[in-house]
């Protein structure tokens, strides 16, 4: 196993990955510290100050109710990143389980993979709006829908790695020593599929942040009262003629989050996948 220091040094060998990780860290700190760093109450309505452009008082301007855009973006990061993180945890848990089952037990492989193929034949956003339509629009259901959308991706990656790991001598040795199948799967195989899952998880985080915003924009996501970056853009698009900052700043937050996650994911992939390292 790599030491943590060595892990970080290798990961950040490319400057751009370090920049991505720092942006991500800042976004996470901002989300966690929202109540302390937010300049205004994100829901405080001040009609006299509506649709003000960016200024020294309201750095990112104010919206149609006079609410401070910066404060709403800061609070919005909690919902947007929170939804993304929950989607990652759920899809990684389900996808890893399905992937190991499919990869380890030949009999389950066919049925599980065909269902996964079927889910993957439906475009992400289309499957997500369909699921939200069926389940009902709420933050929990958006998480559930996106987790269902991204589980197949994790499962495919885990299955592929499991197929390789299953044939390795140490697994055979464990089996010969009488180690139970359950233990082989939950310890030996699981440990060896962590790298590809970690890479996949980072990308899914980025896609989930983008997809949540897309769903909110289409009106099939989180209810508009909850400030997320997506609902902020969706709510303000009719004012974009007079107050373009209402669209620009939440969008930039989405871009920063997705970009930093993809940079980190890219760095992790380069580091953990020796096959790709030569093409760097």
């Amino acid at each position: 196993m790599l030491g943590f220091g060595l892990f970080l040094r290798r990961l950040f060998r490319r400057r751009i990955v370090l920049i991505g990780a720092l942006i991500l860290l800042v976004l996470i700190v901002v989300a966690l510290a929202a109540p302390w760093i937010s300049p205004f109450d994100p829901n405080a309505v001040r009609v006299a100050r509506r649709l003000r452009p960016p200024s020294a008082v309201n750095w990112f301007g104010t919206d149609e109710y006079g609410r401070d855009v910066l404060s709403r973006i800061i609070y919005g990061s909690r919902a947007s990143l929170g939804i993304g993180a929950s989607v990652v945890m759920m899809s990684v848990a389900c996808g890893t389980l399905l992937g190991i089952l499919a990869g380890y037990f030949r009999r389950l492989d066919g049925p599980i993979m065909r269902v996964i193929d079927a889910f993957m034949a439906l475009p992400d956003i289309l499957l997500a709006i369909f699921l939200v339509a069926v389940l009902g629009a709420s933050a929990t259901n958006v998480v559930l829908a996106l987790a269902i959308v991204y589980t197949p991706r994790v499962a495919r990656v885990v299955r592929a790695s499991t197929l390789v790991v299953r044939e390795l001598p140490f697994v055979e040795a464990a089996r010969a020593l009488g180690v139970s199948t359950w233990r082989i799967m939950s310890v030996h195989v699981l440990l060896n599929v962590t790298s590809p899952v970690l890479v996949q998880a980072t990308f899914i985080f980025a896609y989930a942040v983008l997809a949540e915003a897309g769903l909110s924009f289409l009106g099939a996501g989180v209810p508009q009262e909850v400030p997320t970056w997506g609902t902020m853009i969706a709510a303000s698009q009719s004012f974009s003629d007079q107050a373009i900052w209402l669209v620009v700043f939440p969008g930039l937050a989405i871009v920063l989050a997705a970009l930093s996650l993809q940079l980190v994911g890219d760095g992790l992939r380069d580091m953990l996948d020796p096959k790709l390292r030569k093409s760097l």
């Binding site: 889910f119 915003a213 924009f217 989405i254």
Partner: protein
């Protein structure tokens, strides 16, 4: 080749059957009586009961699925009470903008993606490579609806160069309709070009490291010819795959883009159907979209075999 095709078509039937089952049973998870939903708020209890019998909604779920699937196989995707027409007809009426949008966006993504990927690979590690790779990653991190809104503000509202939204008046000449697609296709193309850049770069790098490239260079063939003919020709297989995949991804991307630009395409129809819970349309559209996706995948696989004799076995 024939056995490959037969095997792939067999896989297609199984996957489409599972897609149909997912779509059917998930729809039934939705709260509320499907008959009541189909008829809307004004329906009386008698109307609902009659519709339940007509559509077999009073029978066991698996029999309902069988009956529905038999109709789908015959090409009958159901009837939308809201639109007052068969789902197939509704989808066909909306197909033109979606088709041209996806086509133009794919052309745009390919035209910028392949040259950027080649340049990135040729000048690997240099500033050009770093800038192009950074731009590719950035373009994959931009929400398409946001870029669309910004483009509308800038190119249509401020500069007035292009139409703001819509697809021209009904019966407008094709050229005018297509002018409405320039902005949306550009947005969709930019957002989807990243994958093509990355794959072109990776497969060009793979080929450029091969021995025959060194031989070609040693023979004194110009670098331009080595890169564009010898290397690119051999890197084509993964590139064809990724272009095909991007084409399939565009179907999903079109849903959001059509909504931003108010294009009366299939994506727009799906979103409005979701918002008004018009389940026959949603089910039909999902089946059609999944079908297109699976067929594109098979087509890519076959083109793969045509382009590269090594895969033909």
């Amino acid at each position: 080749m024939a056995s490959r095709l037969a095997k792939r078509l067999g896989g297609l039937v199984i996957v489409m059957f599972i897609v149909a089952a997912i779509v059917f049973f998930l729809t039934r998870l939705a709260p509320g009586d499907p008959a009541a939903l189909m008829l809307g708020d004004q329906a009386t209890a008698d109307d609902i009961a009659r519709l339940r019998t007509t559509y077999g909604l009073d029978r066991p779920l698996f029999i309902q699925f069988g009956l529905w699937l038999a109709e789908v196989v015959k090409g009958n995707l159901g009837h939308s009470i809201f639109l007052q027409r068969p789902v197939t007809q509704a989808l066909l009426e909306r197909a033109e903008p979606t088709f041209f949008l996806a086509l133009f966006a794919l052309a745009f993504a390919t035209l910028i993606g392949i040259p950027c990927g080649i340049a990135s690979a040729v000048w690997r590690g240099r500033l050009v490579d770093q800038i192009l790779s950074a731009i590719a990653m950035l373009s994959a991190s931009i929400p398409s609806f946001w870029l669309g809104l910004l483009f509308i503000q800038f190119f249509a509202v401020r500069l007035g160069w292009l139409p703001v939204a819509g697809y021209g008046d009904p019966g407008a000449p094709l050229a005018e309709r297509l002018a409405h697609l320039i902005l949306p296709a550009t947005v969709l193309g930019i957002v989807n070009s990243a994958l093509i850049v990355r794959f072109t770069r990776a497969s060009m790098l793979d080929v450029l490291g091969e021995d025959f490239i060194r031989t070609a260079r040693a023979k004194g063939i110009s670098e331009r010819r080595v890169v564009l003919r010898h290397a690119f020709g051999n890197a084509l297989v993964p590139i064809v795959t990724v272009v095909g995949l991007t084409g399939a991804l565009l179907i999903g991307g079109a849903i959001v883009t059509e909504t931003v630009f108010g294009l009366p395409g299939i994506g727009n129809l799906i979103v409005s159907s979701v918002l008004r819970r018009d389940y026959p349309v949603i089910q039909g559209a999902l089946i059609v979209v999944a079908g297109i996706y699976v067929i594109i995948n098979i087509a890519v696989d076959l083109i793969y075999a045509l382009v590269d004799p090594r895969v033909r076995t």
